[in-house]
Amino acid sequence: MTALVKIDAVEKRFGDFVAVRCMNLSIDQGEFVAIMGPSGCGKTTTLRILAGLEQPTSGKILIGGRVMNDVSAHQRDTPMVWQSLALFPFLNVRENVEFGLKMRRVAVQERSRRAIDWLERMEIADLAGRMVDTLSGGQRQRVALARALVTEPQLLLLDEPLSALDAHLVIRMQGVLNRLQRELGITFIYVTHSQSEAFAMADRVVIMNNGGIAQVGSPRDIYRTPANRFVAEFVGRNNILTGNATVGGIDTAVGLVKTTHSVTTGSAVTLVIAADQIAISRKPAPGAVETKLISEEFVGSVVTLFLEAGDGTEFKVQLQERALAELDIHSGGSFHLTWPDNIAHILPISPS
């Protein structure tokens, strides 16, 4: 594996506002990288810098080993799938797809053939003559993909491409994107604020906050071992507790949390317990935390219960919908939470 994209100490300022701060990231050939973060975290700016639509204030961008800082947008081979899709409303589907080839002066017949080829690949060849504003959201999405991929780039940039689609279409398009990326073996850099999209598709997830990288890792790494409090909170469905290290565990407001991590005794510690690691029961057990139910949230077959312990500490517990029946959640009373020893993830102490 060789690095296709290298972001080297890149910083981007808009006046006093720092959109991207000292960013270092290396992306391999054929990798699917998702950049995720809250709005305003700099993820879209990073993508626009890669496409040459913004100039970094300092630092270097390398693509395929070549410094791209002075290469203008139209000379880079970094097609983008836009959040708005940005299809050309005055062209029909085939002409939209042909646009990139036309700009590269590919002969008329050749570009028509390749456009149709890609439309077939995206299973929308029968729409070739239609104007884009007569298409459904999913069809337009496919046109946008075909338009970006028709020049067979090494790198595809995607800026929240699925954010305008219905939930069931999102899942389908995720499948399409994953299949395409594997088949073509090209690098995808995918910006999104949706955790489910990022975790479902990406080899590696970059979490950004305030213009900087908060964590880079596989979806599993980020989910199970968040590097800091921001990531733990952003990834969601994590229970975050604070306490002091004592012998054999962390002393928190809800009791001793056992851990074998070596932590200096007496130091303040933040720990994370994933919501799906917590067992919930109606029966008291030794060491269990007693809580009251505050609210619940259903997403498909997964339920998240929001509970509160006697001292006000909030807990989130995730479980399957079918496990809910035996809990009888609406009859009031208390719930007892337990979790396996050593399951708590200790956040490294960061200067911030």
Binding site: G52, H74, W82, Q83, A86, F88, P89, G100, D133, R147
Partner: protein, 260 residues
């Protein structure tokens, strides 16, 4: 019931507005020299008269040259200013826009006098192209307003999508922005041509001996009562109306304007 009252009211208003023009058209086919009722008999005499009049032909030729040149120049200027407004932010942009939109708010007679004074000072008055210059100044704001309206609807990413797919800024302007603005551009061409075709005061002041149709009409009316005026007027009205209706259709045509 109330909608019927409204419709009748609207009909009356339109009748009031268009009555003089309707009369002018009716009298252009009337055999009597004086516009009186009852009418005389139907005739094409006045049309035959203007058809045979070389002055009318010259004026018509002048008008066509002036309005065609004006509409092209004004629309080009209008597009450039609208695009500047869309694409760039700069200090005093508000002043820049106000300045561009200013000419139509100046009373025509003042504008005409000022134009004459200035153009004669630089030795550019009394020519056909003097009228073209003056009319371009006068009509460019309209072109700008129409095209700006269209650019307000453009997807902010559309032009960048062009660059992203390999179009340089010039190519993207031609291959993305211009096609997107096409209905507005055609509409601006029609409207500016119509304004120029109808315009009298400025043309009369700066045109010297070069008469456009409105100037010719005035000259005919000044001399005597001649129903020729009615037939020329009918032509002018038909031309302008066609252009304006065309412009309106393009501006309000949902299909042409639909954007992604």
């Amino acid at each position: 019931m109330s909608t019927w009252i409204l419709r009748i009211w609207l009909g009356l208003v339109l009748l009031f507005v268009f009555m003089p023009i309707i009369f002018s058209v009716v009298f252009s086919f009337n055999s009597d020299r004086f516009p009186t009722i009852p009418l005389g008999h139907f005739t094409l005499h006045w049309y035959q008269t203007i058809w045979a009049d070389p002055d009318v032909w010259t004026a018509a030729r002048n008008s066509v040259i002036v309005s065609l040149s004006t509409c092209v120049l004004a629309t080009m200027l209008g597009f450039c200013t609208a695009y500047t407004d869309y694409r760039y932010n700069f200090r005093l942009k508000g002043a820049y826009l106000a300045l561009i939109l200013l000419p139509p708010t100046i009373p025509l007679i003042i504008l005409a006098l000022a134009m004459l004074a200035w153009l004669s000072k630089i030795g550019a008055s009394g020519q056909l192209w003097s009228i073209i210059i003056a009319h371009t100044v006068l009509t460019a704001p309209f072109a700008m307003a129409i095209i700006r309206l269209r650019l307000n609807q453009i997807d902010q990413d559309l032009e960048a999508a062009g660059w992203n797919l390999g179009a340089s800024e010039w190519v993207a302007l031609r291959a993305v922005v211009l096609p997107f603005c096409r209905p507005a551009i055609v509409s601006a061409l029609c409207l500016t041509a119509a304004i120029s075709f109808d315009e009298f005061a400025v043309a009369w002041y700066v045109g010297g001996l070069n008469k456009t149709i409105p100037v010719l009409i005035l000259e005919i009316v000044q001399g005597n009562i001649d129903p020729q005026v009615n037939s020329i007027g009918s032509f002018v009205f038909l031309t302008s109306m066609t252009l304006v209706v065309l412009a309106q259709l393009l501006v309000f045509n949902r299909v042409m304007w639909r954007s992604a």
